[in-house]
Each structure stands twice: as structure tokens, then as C-alpha cells.
Amino acid sequence: MNAIVKNTGQSEFESTVCHITASSDGPVIEIKDFNLWYGKAQALFNVTMNIEKGLVTALIGPSGCGKSTLLRSLNRMNDLIENLTIAGGMHLEGLPIYGPKVDVIGLRKRMGMVFQKPNPFPKSIYENVIYPLRVDGVRDRTVLAEACERALKGSALWDEVKDRLDDNALGLSGGQQQRLCIARAIASDPEVLLMDEPCSALDPIATSKIEELIDELKGHYTIVIVTHNMQQAARVSQNTAFMYLGRLIEYGDTEEIFTSPKLSRTQDYVTGRFG
């Protein structure tokens, strides 16, 4: 627990207060002075943070503060956007994510992603889950079937769909679809799981199922989760990063962030006084 003060600028937001729980395995992703512009508008300012291996990191902050932008920068989903400029670096276990020769597809294979709205493909449940393996060119039926079962069990959906794997995935309920997307994200056994408000479209029961799931998955995967639900962040994460206006304001141990944050701005936000 140490406060790093850097880039001393005029405003209090120019620096990040950092007091995280470190993982025994060290960080899996290191972000250093990361800046991002959509056209001329800057969306991220000097973000510096380490994402610890095997832990759950929650990203919180008011709407429009750049949580999704940061998350999508991790697996370079932002590459699709035109007129995007970035500065600064990110490393995934030493590999520069924005390095000149990096294989973006290989990089994305190391990071599964779950989106805010469930986005299953218009294919069968089975084909949805094994899609990452299909694009890898895996043909072996037994391997595929095993991967499918493992992923669906991992996302707590197996019991509900094991008899209807050939049905169209679009026929599932919203919560089931979201768990299907989680299964798809973990089917190829990635190192990091990125989740952007995975429960925002779900009812409390589906939400609690997914939270349980995150609990089970941590340790095996490193999880980064964006959420607007403070209780959820408090329940599932070990570290929490509070962002505001494109800056990382405070990044620390979840319990401390929610009980005794270092900055009043954070305090205001987690207690619901603004945001």
C-alpha cells in the first residue's frame, strides 16, 4: 500500500493514488502512461496501473469516464475505430500490446472478452461455445466436445443446455445468453478475462449466478470487470480502480476503496454523493 504521485500537474486528477493488493504471481498486464484520443478528443489521460495475476480487478467510475475505452484497449478492440490515436504502452506479461510487430489476433486469443449486451452468434449453442477453437482450425470432434462441456460447466450453463446443444443460441434467455458468451470467452482457455458490465442487462438471479461464476473463475483467470454496481464491485473484486474524466484517480484494495478511500472524490463516488 503505497501512494505514487507522479506527473505533478495543476489539478488533483493528474496523479493516481495507488494502494493495491499485489498478487503473489505479480502483474499480468502493465499499463504505463497510456493516453488515447478519439479523433481530437482525448478519452484517456496518463493511465498507469498494473493488473495483478489471478485477481479480480473492478473498474468503476461515472458514465463516460473511459472504463470501456480502457478495457477495449487491452485487447485492441479499439483498432476497429477510425481516427484513433494512442500514446504510451501496455504489456501483457512483457509483450508490448501496441508493439509494431504484435500479432493482434494471437493477442486477442489470450484475452477473452464479455460484452455489456450478450452477443451470441446466430448459430447453435455448441457452435457458439467452440467458435474460438473453430477459428483456430481445431477439427477434432472429441476435443471440441470436451472444450464445449468444460466451458459450459465453467459458466454454470451446462445443466440448462446440455440436452439442446444444437438449438439456436438466439433462443436462450438474456441471462443464459450472457453466460453463453462467458463460456465462449473461456472456451479457448485465455489468460485474462475482460468483462464490460456483464450484468447490466440481467435480473438479480442471473446476476448472482454470474457473480458466483466470477468468484469461481478467479485464481484460474485474471479478470478485469467494469461495473456500475458498487456492491458488485465490492463483492467480487480484490482491487478496484476508480476513474474519472479519463483519468485513473485511485486504484487500490477493494475493501479500502469502499471503506477508507484516500481521496474525497472517491469517497463521494462510492458513497453515491456524485456520479
Binding site: 486477442r108 477473452g112 452477443n119 446466430p122 467458435y131 474460438p132 470467452a185
Partner: protein, 581 residues
């Protein structure tokens, strides 16, 4: 602050605020938009009425054309007899000159009727006797109208219909007439005669045609050898000798066939039928020339249904006769179908690939916008311009080069260097490709971004994403584009007249000779058939029924092709677009 004070403050407040005029809560008529709604409804109703009216007209005329009608025998005041099928009745205005020439009684009646008289159009047939198929009969000329029995309506291979009686049949010299000449006997004789007729046709067109085809191939071998090795070269000589041999063998075959057909023909010419029109003028013709005959005024309902169906089956399965105004349209159905199919096969990949590149790969900028606008504008170019382009570029330049490269021995006769099935399909593909491109682009744009992102996040490449997710999902939209393109292409005639459609194609584009599908051949097309029969035939009245029937058929064919495409599309839609929550 005590609660009483608060209460007072609240109670006082409204009086201090500025009170404006009470707003009216009644919305005006124009605000509710009802007049616009009526306008829209009226416009829609008018449009629907036009379409339905058109369809009903085509449908009714189309399905009633083949129904056998009675034959009326009209005795004119002058004593002349006219027999024929009443086709149409109408009122007309009698001019003063004609009125003056009429007898007093008729004159008085017409004047009392506002100078309006009525007339009927009789299909008299017997073109070979009267030099006309139809005749208008004015009602003031008529003495009486009868429908006597034993009058026959006879459809012939040539000269159109004959209306009259069947006098006698001479078979191998023996003459049968009077009571012996029953309808049943005539029918069975006519069946046999038709069989002979078909046999002759099979030999002449089929087997002799085959021999001629092979003979031609052999001759081309010589031309080829001459072009390759030069005149008088030893190789050429050898080829010539070989061809000589083969030709000799074929000649033997040809003669045997010719003999066989001659035999049937001479047998056929011994069975003659003597027809007589209503005035007694006789006409002798081989029985095999009679396609169908029936006693028009003695038919039961069942007989009529039988004739109706047999006419339809002839129409759908036979070759045309009498300058297309009679007989069937099978070659035209076939030509339309094959050409449309070929067009779809060409336009689908071409349009889809173009749209895919424009939408997914090209850098969206000015150039792409210009391309897109140009493509959209292509849809507005008159179709005849495409025909000119197709003739100039496809047939003359492309086809000419193909001929020079691959078929030099056939020159100066063009093979691909003239209009044909392939060039027609390509021309129409060009004509319809904007529709496919626009529809495909829309469909691609409508694929949710989240689906692409989901695929990319799984580590799929851009191409894998397009192939596995985007294209299947866009398929229903692409199919819609193809359906529109197909409907447009199948109904298009003008450009085809320049690039390969003909009035009468001697051969179908698909047959038993290698390579079975002959893309270079000219073909018949239902749309052109309508134009030809309706406006190019010797007697537009004779063509009219065929115009309606052929239009009905063309509409039905297009509807059928569209329906199958729609079924496929809906199946895809069910597969890719369901979803709830």
C-alpha cells in the same frame, strides 16, 4: 418554520405566478394528421387498384383463351353465310355516308339509337380461302344467327384454324363419307396420322439433324487442318481422307433415314381429308396436318374441359407454329428460365463480392462514395443502352476474340461473336447488379457491430468474421436483393433483342450434344414472345389471345422463381434472426 406557514405559502403561490391563457387541449385536424392519412390511403388504394386491375385483366383473359367457344352461323340479309367463333362484341357509331346506304328500316332503328349500332367480330378462320382470319359483322346486316350441329373447329399445322364441315376421308383410295364418317373414327385416324407426323419430325429434326451436325463437325476438321498446316500439306491431306471416309458412312446413314421418312410420308399422303367451309368451298388436306378438331356446337362440358386442358398442355409443352400465334411456347419458357438462372449465377457472386469490398475493405472516402453513387445511378440507365453495350462489348469484342482464338475454323460464321444466351445473361447481370450491390451493402451494414466484435474478440481474423458471422447473418438481405434482381431481369426484353433473343430458335440451348449447354446459342424468351406475337404477327387479332396467355405464363414463372427464393430467404431468416428478451 411552523407547518401552518408552509401551507399558506403553498396556497398563495399560484396567484403570484404569471397566469397565461389556458392552453387548448384539443388538437387541430392537421395536427392529428388525418388529412395526410386520407391522402396516403387514397394513393395506396389507387395503386393497388391499378395493379389488381391489371392482374385480373391478364388472369381472366389468360385463363379463358383456351376455352372452346361455339360456332355461330350468320345468314346476312344479302343471303351470304358466314361461320365463326364470336370473339368480341362492341357498339360503334355509324357514319352518315354508311347510314345513307342502308335500307330504311335499319336506318330508322340506328337513328333512334343515337347513330349507334352493334357489331360482332367472328373468327372465321380459313385464311387460305378468305385471306383473313377475322370478320366484323354489323347487326343491321344480319338476318338470322344459328348454332347448327356438326360444325367443326379444326386447328391445323399450317394456315391457322378451319371452320366448317368434314366432308369425307379418303384412305388408300377408298372414300369414306356420310354416316360412316363418325367422330370416333375420325379421331382414331387423326391420332394415327399425328403419330406419323411426329415420327417424320423426329427423323427429320432429330436423327437427320444429328447426322448433319456430325457432318458439319467433320467438315470443320478440314477447315481446322487447313488453318493449322496450310492447304495441301500432308497432314491436311490425311485429315481430308479421314473426313471423306466418315462422311461416306454418314451419307449411308442419311440415306437410310431419308428413305424411312419418305416411306412414312408417302403413306401419310394417302390419307386425305376433305373439308368444306359453310358455303361449300372444299379444301383437301392430309389428315396429319390437323392438330385438333372438335364439333364446336355439340360439346358436353366434359368435352370442353378436355379440349381446354389439351390446349394448355400443348401450349406448355410444344413448339410454336403459325408464326408463334399458335402452338406452344416451351422453347420460350425454357429460354427465359435458363437465362434468368444463368443471370442469377453471374450476378450473385459479382454483386456480393463488390458490395463486400466496398463496405468491409475499401477505405471509406470520396472515391468509395463516387463508386457508390455511380452504381446507384447505373440503375437508372435505359435498359436498351445495356443492350447496345452488351452487343458491342460482349458479343463483338469478347465474343469476336473468343471466336478468333478457339473457333477459327468456323469463321466467318460467328460462334460466340454474335448474340447468345451467355451474352444475354451477362448483359442482364450488368443491368441488375446495382440492385444486388445496394441490397447487399444494406444487409452488411445491418449486421450488428456487437456480433462482429464478439467474433473478433474470440480471436477471429477479419475474413473469418466476415465468412462465419457477417455473411450468414446478411444472407436474407442479400437474397432480397437477388429476388429483386431476378424479377427485374426476367421481365426485361429490350436489351435482349440486341444480344440474343430471336423470334424462333431452331434449337434449345440445352440438348444432347456435347457440351450439352450451348451458351452461344440464341434463344426464345417469353417477354419477347409477347412483343412478337402481339405486334409483329400478320394479324394482331390472331395474336391477342396468345399475348394474354403468354403474359400470364411469364408472370407465373417470375412469381414461381420469386416464391422459391422467398422461401429460402425466410428459412435463412428464421435461422439467423430469431431472438428474444
Amino acid at each position: 418554520m411552523k407547518s401552518g406557514e408552509t401551507m399558506e405559502a403553498v396556497a398563495v403561490k399560484p396567484t403570484t405566478g404569471a397566469i397565461t391563457a389556458r392552453r387548448s387541449y384539443e388538437s387541430s385536424l392537421s395536427a392529428r394528421g388525418e388529412p395526410f392519412l386520407w391522402g396516403l390511403g387514397g394513393a395506396l388504394g389507387f395503386g393497388v387498384l391499378l395493379v389488381v386491375g391489371f392482374l385480373v385483366l391478364v388472369f381472366w383473359n389468360g385463363i379463358t383463351t383456351f376455352w372452346p367457344k361455339p360456332i355461330e352461323v350468320v345468314t346476312l340479309l344479302s343471303g351470304e353465310l358466314v361461320a365463326g367463333e364470336p370473339t368480341r362484341r362492341e357498339a360503334f357509331k355509324v357514319g352518315p355516308e354508311r347510314l345513307a346506304s342502308l335500307p330504311e328500316a335499319a336506318k330508322a332503328r340506328i337513328i333512334a339509337d343515337d347513330h349507334i349500332a352493334r357489331r360482332v367480330l367472328l373468327r372465321t378462320g380459313n385464311f387460305d380461302l378468305y385471306n383473313d382470319d377475322y370478320r366484323w359483322i354489323e347487326d343491321y346486316k344480319i338476318e338470322k344467327v344459328e348454332t347448327p350441329s356438326n360444325l367443326f373447329f379444326i386447328e391445323r399445322q399450317e394456315w391457322g384454324a378451319f371452320v366448317g364441315r368434314i366432308k369425307s376421308l379418303s384412305k388408300d383410295g377408298a372414300v369414306i363419307s356420310g354416316d360412316e364418317l363418325t367422330y370416333a373414327f375420325l379421331s382414331s385416324e387423326q391420332q394415327e396420322a399425328r403419330q406419323r407426323f411426329r415420327a417424320i419430325k423426329a427423323i427429320e429434326k432429330g436423327e437427320i439433324g444429328e447426322v448433319n451436325f456430325e457432318l458439319n463437325q467433320e467438315r470443320l476438321k478440314i477447315r481446322k487442318a487447313v488453318l493449322q498446316h496450310g492447304e495441301g500439306a500432308p497432314e491436311t491431306k490425311r485429315v481430308e481422307a479421314e473426313v471423306e471416309q466418315a462422311a461416306l458412312a454418314m451419307k449411308v446413314r442419311f440415306e437410310a433415314l431419308a428413305l424411312k421418312s419418305q416411306e412414312i410420308k408417302s403413306q401419310d399422303s394417302k390419307i386425305l381429308v376433305t373439308l368444306a367451309d359453310i358455303t361449300g368451298t372444299e379444301k383437301v388436306t392430309p389428315l396429319s396436318q390437323i392438330v385438333r378438331f372438335y364439333p364446336a356446337n355439340d360439346l358436353s362440358l366434359l368435352d370442353k374441359v378436355g379440349i381446354y386442358l389439351s390446349r394448355w398442355s400443348e401450349f406448355l409443352t410444344d413448339d410454336p407454329r403459325e408464326a408463334n400465334t399458335e402452338g406452344g411456347v416451351l422453347p420460350a419458357i425454357f429460354g427465359t428460365f435458363v437465362m434468368t438462372l444463368l443471370m442469377v449465377v453471374v450476378v450473385a457472386p459479382f454483386g456480393v463480392v463488390t458490395a463486400l469490398y466496398l463496405r468491409e475493405y475499401a477505405k471509406q472516402g470520396r472515391l468509395v462514395s463516387i463508386v457508390r453513387i455511380s452504381v446507384n445511378n447505373l440503375a437508372g440507365v435505359p435498359s436498351i443502352v445495356y443492350g447496345v453495350f452488351g452487343l458491342g462489348f460482349f458479343a463483338y469484342i469478347l465474343g469476336g476474340s473468343i471466336d478468333a482464338l478457339f473457333y477459327p475454323e468456323r469463321l466467318p460464321n460467328p460462334t460466340f461473336g454474335t448474340g447468345g444466351l451467355l451474352w444475354s445473361a451477362l448483359t442482364l447481370a450488368l443491368l441488375t447488379v446495382p440492385v444486388v450491390i445496394v441490397a447487399t451493402e444494406e444487409a452488411l451494414a445491418a449486421v450488428p457491430k456487437s456480433m462482429r466484435e464478439g467474433s473478433l474478440a474470440c480471436g477471429a481474423s477479419k475474413w473469418q468474421t466476415i465468412k462465419n458471422i457477417v455473411l450468414p447473418r446478411a444472407m436474407p438481405g442479400i437474397m432480397t436483393g437477388l429476388i429483386l434482381a431476378m424479377a427485374r431481369g426476367a421481365g426485361e426484353v429490350a436489351p435482349l433483342m440486341l444480344v440474343g433473343v430471336v423470334k424462333l430458335a431452331p434449337e434449345l440451348p440445352v440438348d444432347g450434344f456435347w457440351p450439352f449447354v450451348h451458351l452461344e446459342r440464341s434463344f426464345m424468351h417469353l417477354g419477347f414472345h409477347i412483343f412478337d406475337v402481339g405486334f409483329q404477327s400478320r394479324n394482331s387479332e390472331a395474336g391477342k389471345p396468345m399475348v394474354f396467355v403468354t403474359t400470364l405464363l411469364l408472370i407465373a414463372l417470375i412469381a414461381l422463381m420469386n416464391a422459391s427464393a422467398v422461401i429460402i430467404r425466410n428459412r435463412l431468416k428464421r435461422k439467423f434472426m430469431v431472438g428474444h428478451f
